[in-house]
């Protein structure tokens, strides 16, 4: 008998965050469940991320207990949370894993973390010996698919957050971030987030300006940035290339006349201004000046929306890749099914030939006995080959093949 794939899990698609938190909090229960599955001789991989907790299993042998009930008992969850668990078998399980690893099932379609998370969950299970032939094949195929989807399609391209979009737009302006001077105005939540993005993208030590210098100094102790007083804004605008403004002000902080005055001193070097404040803190008419670009939160949202739409439009293409990989995996599973039957036939053939030789060739000498046994083996082998060809017929459906296989196995066992 071949193994049966099964996934049991809960995710942001079926449960709210409180339920997910409730389930993920009972770590020991989850591990107990995994050990129980492994104890029954099955294979199991536990994938636990902030948005999903899933058990991928390859079930061997007869008898299938109610895994959902067992899990709910072990992690001791409410009746409502119990309903949030989903369970998919066979092809549905494979399709589910493929969709998850391709990030089609993620909150943000195209995010790359899920691939790394599933890969590390699998490697951990592999190291601990929780997986065998079937789950190894399933997960190796899934990881390869995840990589392929991200290489062959543009699912992972384009920023999907405002700060990311700002950095992405900067890439369209500046050739090398290593030589680009940046300034962040505002040390609030959004300012710090922008600062993180800038540092992560390779901007060398951005300047941080805040109404109170003390706060800027506090932030600079945690992040690689240089605190500067807000009073020096005009002077700083002469040096910097990128300005990220995230403050709450009633009147614009950077106005057109200021930039008109600064530009000749900058020798008309490109100035990229990003304003994510509401109300706006950078005069939008600055965009009309040569070598100056102003983007506000609405413009960035437009970029984000376009990127999201572009990612969504890739879904059909990715599903086609998933289907083709799934087809290949199904063929492999069918071959496993056939190969097990073939192995049984081969074993049976050897024992039948030996038995018959002992029964009929009692009076023969050793040489004659060996020759006759060889002949019998050859005849049996030819019949075996016919059976194998029938089983391997690509025209047979999986169900028919399984039925024939079971029939042959039972016949062999009867004899």
């Amino acid at each position: 008998m071949t193994a049966e794939f099964l996934v049991l899990g809960i995710s942001h698609q079926t449960a709210d965050m409180s339920t997910l938190n409730e389930v993920s909090a009972s770590i020991s229960g989850l591990l107990d469940f995994r050990d129980m599955v492994l104890g029954q001789g099955h294979e199991c991989v536990l994938v636990a991320t902030c948005n999903r907790i899933e058990f991928y299993m390859a079930l061997h042998g007869e008898g299938r207990p109610d895994f959902r009930l067992s899990l709910s008992r072990m992690i001791n969850i409410s009746q409502e949370s119990y309903k949030s668990f989903y369970m998919f078998r066979h092809s549905a399980c494979v399709q589910h894993l493929f969709r998850v690893i391709s990030s089609l099932d993620s909150i943000v379609v195209g995010e790359s973390q899920i691939l790394a998370q599933i890969r590390s969950a699998y490697l951990e299970a592999l190291q601990k010996g929780h997986t065998k032939k079937y789950l190894n094949r399933l997960f190796e195929t899934a990881v390869a698919l995840g990589k392929r989807v991200r290489t062959e399609t543009s699912i992972g391209r384009g920023a999907v957050s405002v700060s990311q979009a700002a950095v992405e737009l900067s890439r369209r302006v500046f050739s090398d971030f290593g030589n680009t001077k940046s300034l962040v105005i505002g040390a609030g939540e959004m300012g710090v987030l922008a600062l993180r993005h800038l540092v992560a993208s390779g901007f060398p030590k951005p300047l941080l300006m805040n109404r109170t210098l003390k706060r800027a100094v506090q932030v600079s102790e945690k992040l690689s940035c240089e605190p500067v007083p807000l009073e020096n804004l005009e002077q700083r605008l002469e040096d910097v290339d990128l300005v990220f403004c995230a403050v709450s002000v009633s009147e614009p902080l950077i106005f057109r006349e200021m930039i008109e005055k600064v530009m000749p001193r900058r020798r008309y070097k490109t100035l990229f201004l990003i304003d994510i404040s509401l109300p706006l803190s950078i005069d939008p008419s600055i965009n009309d000046l040569p070598s100056a670009f102003v983007y506000n939160i609405q413009d960035l949202r437009q970029v984000v929306d376009q990127n999201r739409a572009a990612r969504e439009s890739q879904k059909a293409e990715i599903q086609a890749i998933i289907d083709s990989v799934h087809k290949d995996l199904s063929s492999w599973i069918e071959i496993q099914q056939v190969s097990e039957i073939i192995k049984q036939i081969a074993d049976m053939r050897t024992s039948v030939v030996e038995n018959e030789a002992n029964r009929w060739l009692k009076d023969y000498d050793t040489v004659q006995k060996v020759q006759a046994t060889r002949m019998g083996d050859s005849i049996a082998s030819k019949f075996g080959h016919i059976l194998m060809s029938l089983l391997k017929d690509p025209g047979l459906s999986a169900e028919t093949r399984a039925r024939i296989g079971e029939r042959i196995t039972s016949c062999l066992n009867d004899n």
């Binding site: 302006v173 050739s175 070097k269 490109t270 376009q306």
Partner: protein, 259 residues
């Protein structure tokens, strides 16, 4: 159209670059470079062989062949320094198409060129034409990207074209090299007229137009070093200067006085 091995290699590289541009495919881009470099190598060997085998080969054919070699060669070298995104098709296409479709009908031969001051004029003209072509393409792409970013239309072009900074650097370098080569070409051309018993500045309208373009380029560098970086305005200068030169060289009817 005459097809040979280098043309086929160039065509394959162009198709791959076009595919890389539309599908934003790195693999096609890399493969395109392999075919381009192969094409350049084959072209170089064939070019040398043709010159040695038949020194009376048409000068115009030699010129177009050299423009392709130097233009594409310069571009390949620039790629070691700059990341030009998926836009290779635009840079490589003009010189290759020039080579593919140009059918020489008449012209001088290589022999008299090889032993005179005209050789320097010839080589510097080829270098100027190649690098100013790259500068022209970079300026056009700069203007497209600039307008996309100014108008906040983030679509097909914005994602595929290189950053403004890169396009400016490429354009500036190519213009500088083209300008220096053009200076040498104009000076040596002048000497050639002088050798031919004519007044040093007895240039025709074609030569005067190119000289005017040279003066605008000089002004371009003057502005760049004194006022500063003026992005799109200087890109427009590069575009118009190049178009004027192409008009003077290939569209205007009349004899080239330097030849």
């Amino acid at each position: 159209m005459k097809f040979n091995l280098e043309m086929i290699l160039y065509l394959i590289s162009l198709i791959l670059f076009a595919f890389a541009f539309f599908r934003m495919n790195h693999r096609a881009e890399r493969l395109g470079f392999v075919f381009l470099i192969l094409g350049l190598l084959v072209h170089f060997v064939v070019f040398l062989y043709n010159i040695l085998e038949n020194p009376t080969i048409s000068l115009r054919l030699v010129m177009f062949s050299l423009v392709t070699l130097t233009g594409s060669g310069m571009y390949v070298m620039m790629n070691f320094r700059f990341r030009l995104s998926y836009s290779h098709v635009f840079f490589v296409a003009p010189t290759l198409i020039l080579c593919l479709f140009y059918q020489p009908k008449a012209g001088g031969t290589v022999i008299p060129v090889a032993f005179s001051v005209h050789l320097i004029h010839f080589i510097s003209s080829v270098l100027a034409l190649s690098s100013l072509t790259i500068s022209f393409i970079a300026a056009i792409l700069y203007l497209i990207q600039h307008s996309q970013l100014k108008n906040k239309t983030f679509g097909f072009w914005t994602r595929r074209l290189p950053p403004l900074g890169t396009l400016d650097e490429v354009g500036f370098l190519a213009t500088l090299f083209g300008f220096l080569s053009l200076t040498v070409a104009i000076l040596t051309g002048g000497f050639r007229i002088h050798d031919g018993q004519l007044a040093f500045f007895a240039m025709g309208s074609r030569e005067w137009i190119i000289f005017a373009a040279w003066m605008v380029y000089a002004l371009y560098f003057r502005i760049r070093y004194s006022v500063g970086f003026l992005g799109s305005k200087l890109a427009w200068v590069a575009v118009w200067c190049y178009l004027v030169q192409i008009f003077a060289l290939f569209i205007m009817i009349g004899l080239h006085r330097f030849s």
